[in-house]
């Protein structure tokens, strides 16, 4: 990328408070996300990939290392890093679909009328024009996540942080939303850090894939997967094979750790 990356995570370690002191979850996370780049963070469940994302979002403070974003150290959550979660309860149930998106804009300083107009436009763009007045509990899981993504994009953030946003969806819905997200990312040139445990999702959506492994975890390898968006090509298959090998190595290691 040449120029300074938008996000750089250097030697970040994060622990959780546990019985008998802090339990280290992440020992050494190093990664960068360039402007307009989509970086996928993959690893087995419990490897701390969501922990890294929450630290980038500003919800957790690293015990060592440094996270700098757009030239400044991350000091807390801010709307320039919009977050989309896996949980289907990330929409405010007391607001309508339109209200959820418009509120996010108003909370970040957009005047009321403009917020409504921009929210409506974003939702219509994502095929939710018919559901503006519904409340979240009247939506399917896929629609809820689509609204959450619309809310994140409406904020026009520098970076989108996605924490397994399609993890709770059925395969068909997941595929459709992946394609929509890829299209939006291409059009808006937004930078994305995307946590997933699905190898196919990582290769399909990412420009690069960062593999997190070990316990406590660190970055095992970074794989270039830019341009691989058709599962039938040879490059895709090779990347998939490589990632599968890396992740299963980690499984054996974890198994040994348990036996020790």
């Amino acid at each position: 990328m040449g120029a300074e990356p938008l996000l750089s995570v250097d030697g970040v370690a994060i622990g959780y408070p546990g019985p008998g002191g802090r339990v280290p979850a992440v020992a050494g996370a190093d990664l960068t996300v360039g402007h307009g780049e989509t970086v996928m963070l993959i690893g087995r469940s419990g490897c701390g990939k969501s922990t890294v994302l929450k630290a980038v979002a500003g919800f957790l403070t690293p015990s060592a290392g440094r996270i700098s974003f757009h030239g400044a150290e991350v000091e807390g959550p801010a709307p320039d890093r919009a977050v989309v979660f896996q949980e289907l309860d990330q929409l405010f149930p007391w607001r309508t679909v339109l209200g959820n998106v418009a509120y996010a804009l108003r909370a970040t300083g957009t005047p009321r009328d403009e917020a409504r107009a921009r929210a409506t436009a974003q939702l219509e763009l994502m095929g939710l024009g018919h559901a503006l007045d519904r409340h979240p509990h009247q939506l399917s899981g896929g629609m809820k996540q689509r609204v959450a993504i619309a809310r994140a994009f409406a904020l026009e953030p520098r970076m989108l942080l996605m924490d397994e946003p399609f993890g709770a969806l059925d395969a068909q819905t997941r595929g459709r939303l992946q394609a929509e997200l890829a299209g939006l990312a291409r059009r808006t040139r937004v930078s994305i850090l995307f946590v997933t445990h699905s190898i196919d999702e990582a290769v399909l959506l990412g420009d690069r894939v960062v593999v997190l492994g070990g316990r406590p975890s660190s970055v095992v390898e970074t794989l270039d997967v830019a341009g691989l968006d058709s599962p039938d090509t040879e490059g895709f298959t090779a990347a998939r094979r490589r990632l599968r090998a890396l992740l299963s190595d980690d499984r054996e290691e974890a198994g040994r750790a348990v036996l020790d």
Partner: protein, 284 residues
Amino acid sequence: MPSSTETAPPADAGAGGRRSDGPWSRLPVGLRRSALLVALLGVWQLYVVAAGVSPLVFAGPWDVAAAFAEGWGGGALVGPTLTTLRILGLGMLIGTALAVVLTALAVATRFGDDLLTLLTAMVNPLPSVAILPLAMLWFGLDETVLVFVVANAVLWPMAVNIGMGFRTVPATTLMVGRSLGLRSWRLIRDVHLPAALPHTVAGVRTGWAFGWRTVIAAELVFGVAGAQGGLGFFINEARFHLDIPDVFAGLVTIALIGIALDLLFTLLERRTVVRWGMKEGAAL
């Protein structure tokens, strides 16, 4: 009544088929309850006529209805009702505001949390009307006393419920709010408060019931303050004048207001938390 071996109709099988009293169950619920009400009123009237109880200690439904109509038509019941409702409303307003402030403080600081926990544990088990004598010492024979005991009655159950609501806001919901840049008071107002609404509504329902009982009890003890006594005072006055139908008319008024307010809160619940899917299966 038919024997209980008869099978229960499917309409009422919800309770595990435990109820089985035949044709009675097959009547629509409104009809069943109206019939029961009429029957009870009949028994009441019959007892008064047949047993010949002294009208100085007991009144029949007919006399009560007449006193009720007279009280509302002539205005004797209107004033006391408005007085009581005004005291209840003022007390609830103050109690609710204090509950929100205390709970917000408890969410924001560890000190506030400890304070609220301790105060709630100490004061909540104490029936509010018990502090009436003290309040009379502090505030004199003034309406302030009644407002004070009602506010105290409402404050603690509300604080317990709102506190529970604040503590159970889903972590994701809070993270969404924080990532929008919301801090302190705005986060509390725009995320904590609406997310805690199901618990708050439950708190208001408990709170008003406490307040309602307290204001009537306090008025019975307190008598009249200023220009106009409330419903508790009205009952006591009627008893003093041996006007038993008026005593009953006062009681009926108190019960009817209780039913009406409870309906109002059910409606409020349906328009908000039920409509937003924040409370399951709350159909009437």
